[in-house]
């Protein structure tokens, strides 16, 4: 192994978890974002409200669900409702964070999860499409993004298809299209670093590096010019307690965090 006591997936999850404040609400899918939300709940944010697009609200998650609609997502929930009720709720301003991923991202945080190629009718690769991603990215207050395999083919100057709005063409662009003021991407967690977005230019800004990663590593892996914070932090590795919770409580079967 790398000599680290943790994997990059674990680190990404822990960094993502730390971005969420207590007493806020997050809409998540499955996988790392959900593991991050669960970890936040079990550490610094016990009152983090978790909702699922398929209708589960505030479940007592026994294990990581396989699907955003599976039985686990409504286990002893406080409400089981409809997809449209969740979307409406998000539109009305009750959801602070949405957690998304994608195949490509650009400097304004626009996400592509629809296709690779330049021919919509016959794409090189057809991905699932928006699902709820565009809804989440349009409606939640903050969009948080997790992207692994940070490299120039995923962090691109122009995505092949804007599935989900980041800041679109830059400052003022979301508002110009009728998206609500005060919304947009706020964080991007990758396997190299943590970005936020520059408050003026709305361009992705290097905020913190993972241990052992340099600013140069990030710049090389990114296909557009990034902003850089005046002082770059270093992400604190997962604590032993973080790892214990991930392995023993959240994912005891090792589905997404394989045991060493």
């Amino acid at each position: 192994m790398s000599g680290r006591e943790y994997t990059l997936r674990e680190l990404m999850t822990v960094v993502a978890a730390r971005q969420m404040e207590d007493n806020k609400a997050v809409a998540v899918g499955t996988g790392l974002p959900l593991a991050a939300a669960m970890l936040a709940q079990k550490t610094h944010a016990p009152n983090l409200l978790i909702v699922f697009e398929a209708g589960g609200v505030a479940p007592q998650l026994p294990t990581l669900p396989i699907s955003v609609g599976d039985s686990r997502t409504i286990h002893k929930a406080l409400m089981c409702t409809t997809l449209i009720d969740i979307m409406d709720m998000m539109r009305r301003g009750y959801i602070d964070y949405a957690f998304l991923g994608g195949a490509q991202i650009d400097k304004y945080g626009n996400l592509n999860s629809t296709m690779i190629g330049d021919n919509y009718e016959q794409p090189k690769v057809r991905f699932p499409g928006s699902g709820g991603a565009n809804d989440f990215g349009s409606l939640a207050w903050e969009t948080m993004i997790i992207m692994d395999r940070h490299g120039p083919r995923r962090f691109v100057e122009n995505v092949d298809f804007i599935t989900t709005p980041g800041y679109l063409d830059g400052p003022g662009s979301r508002e110009g299209w009728g998206l609500s003021p005060g919304t947009g991407p706020s964080r991007v967690v990758t396997d190299l670093c943590l970005f936020d977005f520059h408050p003026e230019t709305k361009i992705m800004r290097l905020k913190a590096l993972h241990p052992g990663i340099t600013e140069e590593d990030v710049k090389k892996a990114t296909g557009f010019e990034i902003e850089v914070a005046s002082s770059i932090e270093t992400n604190t590795p997962p604590t032993a307690e973080d790892l214990r919770i991930l392995h023993e409580v959240i994912d005891p079967t090792g589905r997404i965090f394989p045991k060493k």
């Binding site: 997809l83 499409g129 709005p165």
Partner: protein
């Protein structure tokens, strides 16, 4: 007062029904309490036509009406348009069966954490199956408009993205507030297939757990085929009328079909058959397109009906899914 459509997408509207044709159709349906039980074969034959626009209950691989999906494939229905409103194994089997020509895409191709579908990639990437892009919210909003019987609905999603540009949405300024919204056309599917926890012989349905979108798509659809885990006496439904999610007069056929969502997850009944789905996915991803056809032969074409499929799965396999659902170890210990 003049209003402007500021931008519009280029996506094709695959479903040609309107609130007016929906209304005329509903007028012809009986309001009588009649026994609507019939064999699933007959229901599919009678209520699903080639070229229909199909809506599917549940959510991708949760509470999906797989028994009906298999029967549609077995009857080789053609040229269906399908609402891909998080459609996973349901639409995949239909596409592998060659039943689908057009898809309204919110979420397809993917099997969530399990990765992408080979079958769907082939058909979409070659352009053999036509598509229009939306979002999950947008598809639900279109169904809400269809359920309300109005021809469009204003929404606050898709604005400014390529998802909007490949949809038929139109950007419009609210005449009350000046706020920009996207107008989307209503969706009134020809037929909904859904799997419920229980129903009576007339078609009154109950669902346990999250409804996801089955309330609105039942209301928006012209015809409904309901399969259910069990048919119960109407008195049981009358004892808790707040739990009826679809009333009988919207429903055309009722079929008791236990395990009808397999390999999907039926909340409070059985969990995913993970192994079954992984095996199916692997066949679809095989470079040889014959692999998936062989799977289809084995699990669909060579079987008379869904009862034969359940028999083929076998009791032990099914009971394990029940144990999984309730997070309990199997009786007697380590059987897995």
């Amino acid at each position: 007062m003049e209003m402007k459509i500021l931008e519009e997408g280029t996506g094709e509207i695959f479903c040609k029904n309107t609130p007016i044709t929906m209304r005329e159709y509903a007028r012809g349906k009986t309001r009588a309490l009649i026994d609507k039980r019939m064999p699933l074969q007959e229901a599919v034959k009678k209520f699903i036509n080639d070229g229909d626009y199909l809506a599917i209950g549940g959510f991708g691989h949760i509470r999906i009406p797989m028994a009906t999906i298999y029967e549609i494939v077995r009857q080789k229905k053609k040229n269906l348009s399908v609402a891909g409103h998080t459609a996973v194994q349901d639409i995949d089997v239909l596409m592998a069966g060659g039943c689908v020509s057009n898809v309204d895409i919110a979420y397809v191709v993917g099997f969530e954490l399990r990765g992408l579908s080979g079958v769907q990639r082939r058909l979409f990437e070659s352009g053999q199956v036509k598509k229009t892009d939306y979002t999950n919210g947008a598809m639900s909003y279109r169904l809400r408009a269809g359920a309300q019987g109005v021809p469009f609905i204003p929404v606050k999603v898709m604005l400014g993205t390529d998802t909007m540009r490949k949809s038929p949405g139109k950007v419009f300024e609210c005449p009350f507030t000046g706020e920009k919204v996207l107008l989307l056309p209503a969706l009134n599917p020809d037929v909904l297939i859904m799997h419920a926890h229980r129903a009576d012989i007339y078609g009154n349905c109950q669902i346990d757990g999250h409804i996801v979108k089955d309330d609105i798509q039942a209301r928006a659809s012209k015809r409904i085929i309901v399969t259910c885990e069990e048919i119960v006496d109407t008195e049981i439904l009358r004892a808790d009328p707040g739990k009826t999610i679809v009333p009988f007069f919207m429903v055309d056929a009722v079929i008791e079909q236990p395990w009808g969502s397999h390999p999907g997850n039926m909340p409070y009944k059985y969990y995913f058959d993970h192994e079954f789905t992984e095996n199916y996915l692997a066949k679809g991803r095989d470079k040889d397109p014959g692999a998936i056809q062989k799977w289809m032969d084995e699990w669909i074409y060579s079987l008379d009906d869904f009862n034969a499929y359940v028999t083929k799965l076998g009791a032990s396999r099914l009971y394990k899914l029940r144990d999984d659902e309730f997070l309990r170890p199997p009786m007697g210990g380590k059987q897995s």
